[in-house]
């Protein structure tokens, strides 16, 4: 199936590659802004796959122009859907950007590891407990039956 290289096969391959490259970037980067960019790529890939589903061989754009002669039209629905999806993506990205700005402002860092630990620390401080995963030795050895 993949060997039979057709135009739509290539398109699909490209779309999937795009989204997976985005996903890979999302996984390996620690910089939050890069993660956002990777997310944008991933969403773009997903949108591509969506819009490809309306692709027809030899199809034309689904617009009834004056000289329309009954040619095969591409599916209008995915185009409409992807329009929506793109705008949704834009909204989310803008929001993420704003969040990144705010995080940067407050924590002076964009490294996910740093802000994660600062977040945990802050939560723990607010609740007045030790942050989870702190590598201090346990304060006291808990004897039998004292757990509950």
């Amino acid at each position: 199936m993949l060997i039979n290289i057709s135009i739509e096969g290539l398109l699909y391959f490209g779309a999937i590659s795009l989204s997976l490259i985005g996903l890979f970037g999302l996984l390996v980067s620690n910089n939050v802004f890069r993660m956002l960019l990777a997310l944008v790529m991933f969403e773009a890939g997903a949108n591509l796959i969506l819009v490809l589903s309306g692709f027809r061989e030899n199809g034309i754009a689904p617009i009834f122009l004056a000289d329309y002669s009954g040619a095969i039209m591409n599916d209008p629905v995915p185009q409409a859907l992807v329009l929506t999806a793109i705008v949704i993506g834009v909204g989310i990205q803008a929001l993420a950007l704003a969040l990144i700005l705010r995080v940067k402002k407050h924590y002076k860092s964009l490294d996910m590891r740093v802000i994660r630990s600062k977040l945990e620390h802050e939560i723990a401080t607010q609740a007045n407990v030790e942050p989870p995963g702190s590598h201090h030795a346990p304060k006291q050895i808990v004897r039998a039956g004292e757990h509950q």
């Binding site: 949108n47 589903s53 859907l81 969040l99 977040l119």
Partner: protein, 486 residues
């Protein structure tokens, strides 16, 4: 009946106009939301009887399905709508200073919730799901606590990735079948039950699972719930997670009701239960404990839904309602009893009422007779035992183990509450509205005890209605019983 679309439209409308109105009168802008919610609640109650046992379909724009978007309304979705409206009224930010746009976000959240409950179109569901997500991010990030921004950001990454996967799943389904209407899809399940269709379903479940606090997709839960205001946490844990679950269940019931799928749901549920309870056991502060416990409860709901047929459905519904009451109540209570266990030492002396309510809630959560939680857990376990599959039997063991761990940490906290010496840092909070709500929740829980039979019958009716794809298809696609082209 077409006016039930107002459930979605009115909140959107009010969300749009609130910022403008606020420029002229803050007071009016504050009142718009509650007024709309009350109106919707009334609408839901009034239309309860006019919705028959077959449900009712709204064809948006007058386009007959499957081309247009369809809303499907039955008692189940009406009940959920009522709960949404009620819950939002309860967590509505009355007394704190709130920017008008935050009210807008609340109203958008409302609209999205209604849309999620009512819509019968895959892509439309996606849109509402995203609206819900964006409104949630906004509300989380808006908290006074700067840590909330980080939590929201981390949540956003997971959730947006999930959403993209959901979109991918929808794209695959559309390519495969050429339609998005769930009822229409339900008439061609044979096409969906292949590798591609199931993969698409898996992607959809992963996307929706992020909000449904599914195992491994729920890492955001503790961070978010411990940074936001407790009423909002009550809303998210109590209601929003359930809506995502409902989305999964709808798709599952209509399109992918296969034993393998159900078993995967079961496994996910079991892991959720075990992991949630175990980590909650380690928690040293109230909110963290509650959020992990919430993960576990959601896992339990998944386990319930993994039982094929009506039985699983109605037990799952009952668990959802119970969890809404209990976990919502606990989070509302946590508004008063926040902080580490150490801070809560001797709290029983300070507020006996709060502790009493807390104990009622946790007893019901643990499934101690005669509280409603017991009956639900009993039905769950008995019905799991009836399944002809050892996987389900193992699940019983895990549920029981989880209950023990749950008891361990809840009563550890109770011990702190009843300790004699009071914590020095204990904060005395004035009687707040949330506390009253928590009391009301507890009262509802106790009163429901007297109505176990009628409630369970009603839920069974709903379940039989929801579980039957034929009713759904008949109502939405009157002419396409056996599939075919529109």
């Amino acid at each position: 009946m077409n006016h039930l679309i107002l459930l979605v439209v009115l909140p959107l409308l009010s969300a749009f106009i609130i910022p403008v109105v606020a420029k002229h009168s803050l007071t009016i802008s504050r009142l718009i939301g509650p007024v709309v919610l009350v109106f919707i609640l009334a609408l839901v109650v009034l239309s309860w009887n006019s919705v028959g046992s077959n449900g009712f379909a709204i064809f948006l724009g007058g386009f007959l399905p499957p081309v247009g978007i369809v809303f499907y309304i039955d008692h189940f979705s009406l009940m959920l709508s009522g709960l949404i409206a009620g819950m939002l009224l309860i967590v509505w930010p009355w007394n704190s200073y709130v920017a008008p746009r935050q009210y807008s976000l609340y109203m958008l959240l409302t609209a999205a919730s209604f849309g999620l409950v009512l819509s019968a179109d895959l892509f439309n569901l996606y849109v509402f799901y995203e609206l819900l997500a964006v409104a949630t991010y906004g509300l989380i990030a808006r908290q006074k606590n700067p840590a909330a921004a980080v939590a929201a950001l981390r949540y956003l990454f997971v959730s947006a990735t999930g959403s993209a996967m959901l979109l991918l799943g929808i794209a695959i389904i559309y390519t495969l079948t050429g339609t998005l209407n769930i009822a229409h899809l339900a008439t061609m399940t044979d096409q969906l039950h292949g590798l591609a269709g199931l993969s698409a379903f898996a992607l959809i479940v992963i996307g929706a699972g992020v909000k449904a606090e599914m195992f491994l997709l729920n890492t955001w839960v503790p961070e978010v719930y411990s940074t936001i205001e407790t009423p909002l946490a009550a809303l998210l844990a109590g209601l929003i997670s359930k809506l995502a679950t409902v989305l999964i269940i709808r798709v599952l019931l209509m399109l992918f009701q296969q034993s393998e799928v159900l078993q995967m749901l079961l496994v996910v549920g079991v892991f959720g239960v075990i992991s949630g309870e175990m980590v909650a056991w380690r928690a040293k502060d109230m909110l963290r404990m509650l959020s992990f416990s919430s993960i576990a409860q959601l896992g339990m709901i998944f386990i319930a839904f993994s039982i094929a047929g009506e039985v699983g459905l109605w037990i799952g519904l009952a668990m959802m309602l119970h969890h809404l009451l209990v976990k919502g109540g606990l989070f509302l209570l946590a508004d008063k009893m926040q902080g580490s266990f150490d801070n809560l030492r001797g709290y029983a002396k300070r507020s006996a009422m709060a502790v009493a309510i807390f104990i009622i809630f946790i007893l019901s959560l643990l499934g101690i007779p005669p509280f409603p939680g017991f009956w639900i857990k009993l039905m769950l376990i008995l019905n799991l035992a009836e399944q002809n599959n050892t996987l389900y039997h193992y699940a019983i063991g895990f549920i029981l183990l989880a209950t023990v761990i749950e008891a361990a940490y809840l009563f550890k906290l109770v011990r702190y509450l009843f300790q004699d010496e009071e914590a020095a840092t204990i904060v005395s909070t004035p009687k707040s509205l949330t506390f009253w709500y928590a009391q009301i929740f507890a009262l509802v829980l106790l009163v429901s005890l007297a109505f176990i039979s009628p409630i369970s019958n009603r839920l069974k009716d709903m379940a039989s209605q929801v579980a039957n794809p034929d009713i759904y298809i008949n109502t939405i696609l009157p002419s396409h019983l056996s599939g075919g082209n529109p």
